[in-house]
Each structure stands twice: as C-alpha cells, then as structure tokens.
Symmetry: C2
Subunit: 153 residues, 2 copies
C-alpha cells in the first residue's frame, strides 16, 4: 500500500519508526505517571520531588535552592516550600553560603540521608521484582538506551 504526498507541508507517512517513537512517548509517560503514584510507597515522608531533591543535594555535596529549581525545572517558591517541609522533618540543614550571603547551602541531615537510603532501597526492590525475568543482556541494553536518551539533553 502506498500514497502520494503532494506538498512539502504534509506529514511524513507513518513508518515503523514513527510507530516506535509514539510507543516510546506513551510508555515513558505511563512510567512517569506510575512513578508518581508509587512515590508514596518509597518512604512515608518523602514525595518523589523531595526524594529527588535530597538525592541531588547528596550527589553534589550540598547545593543551593536555585540549583535545585534549575535542575528539576521547578519554581523557586516550590523548592523553598519543599525545603521547608524537609527541614521541619529534620531531613535537611541549611547554612548560609559563605561565598554569597544571599544564598543558602542545603544538605541532608543524617536523618535525611537515612530516609533517602531507605527510599532508594525500596525502589531497588520494586525494580528487581519487575525486571526479575529479564536477561542480563536486555537489562544492560535498556540501561544503555536510557542513558543515551537522557544524555541528549
């Protein structure tokens, strides 16, 4: 089966590549949805965003709210409130940035680190379960694809 395409403006025909692209979009979206709904199970106190914030702070050895906002594409007010909640939980400590007294350096407290590690472990368990019947090679390949995909930011 084939068709004519008469102008430059018409969409390309639906190829298998397009089908696959569409599928990738849909599946990634479904994943995002589910990740959000499962986030509660990670740790009773940590939303997905709060968890990710702690994660980035840890990875960078402390960072400013503005960094978090930029990284996660969140408004600074949102970060401020999330940070406030984490502080109230005793999960993070702030110190004035010695180099620039406008800013603060945010770090996980020991309790915050502990909670974050627990959430990590929970998540690892869930993933293991889901990928239990996958070959090592397939898992490695999927990981490689995702890294490649995300690195193209």
């Amino acid at each position: 089966m084939w068709m004519y395409y008469t102008t430059m403006n018409e969409k390309a025909p639906s190829t298998s590549r397009d089908e696959a692209l569409r599928s990738i979009q849909r599946e990634l979206t479904a994943f995002a949805r589910r990740a959000r709904s499962r986030a509660t199970e990670l740790h009773p106190d940590l939303s997905l965003v709060a968890f990710s914030m702690l994660d980035l702070m840890t990875e960078r050895g402390g960072c400013r709210g503005a960094d978090l906002a930029a990284y996660f594409m969140l408004d600074k007010s949102t970060v401020s409130r999330q940070a406030g909640a984490l502080e109230k939980l005793g999960y993070l400590v702030r110190e004035t940035d010695p180099d620039d007294h406008r800013g603060q350096i945010l770090r996980p407290s020991p309790a915050g680190l502990k909670a974050m590690r627990e959430a990590h472990e929970q998540r690892r368990i869930a993933f293991l379960d889901r990928l239990a019947d996958w070959d090592d090679a397939d898992i490695a390949q999927l990981a490689a694809y995702l890294e490649r995909y995300n690195s193209a930011v």
Copy 2:
C-alpha cells in the same frame, strides 16, 4: 579488591546487572522529573494526563474509563473528571458499551484527534531532536523494552 559476604541478608555484591538496574532507576526517574514541566508545551487545552488518555483511547480504538485508570494508575474519579473536561472541550465522545451497559466506550472526537495530533507533533519534534541519530532498529528495540517493562504490572 574483594570482600566477604557473611550472611544471607547482606546486599549482593555489585554485579553488572545491579549496575544496570541502578542506571535504569536513575534514568527513568530523571525522565519522570522533567516530564511534568514539559507537559504545558504540548497543547494549550491538553494536560499531560488528558493527552495520554486520548492517546490510549486512540491506540485501542476506544476504551473504558476503567481501562484508563488501570493503565495510568489513576483513581477512577480522576479519569471521570478528566473525561468530563475533554467532553466539554468537544474532544471526546462517549457511548454506552453495548456488551456491558455499566460501562462506556470513550473515543476521541474528530476535534480531539486533531488536538491530540497537534500535541503529538509537538512532542514528536522534541523526541526527534533527541533521537535523531538513532537507528530505526534501536528505536524499535527501546520501544519494545519499555512496553515489556510497563506490561509487567
């Protein structure tokens, strides 16, 4: 360098499989973090969830609200309200399921299809950019992996 593992409860040593699992976690989460912020750009009328709902309806040639709720792990009330909004926009039509009069079959209207295609095109542009240098085979493989991953509910 090597270590002893003395009890069944200790974590397994870091194998390549574990490395890959950790990577998949991180990369999928990185995607989930940012998906939300990109959602607004898709279409003035369509939230990410609304768009995804239309997409799945289309893919399946019409489906019930319960299917959508299950697929996206959303509460049925959420689906009901999103469907109501889409209907008010003239983007979807409902018909009573002839096989089971409790349910409804939801389908995009022509306008809904149009809006969805526009949103899809927006997203496709972004994806194309990212996946421009991928082989068709790799894209198809990634799609297959994601489908497999998501179907393991």
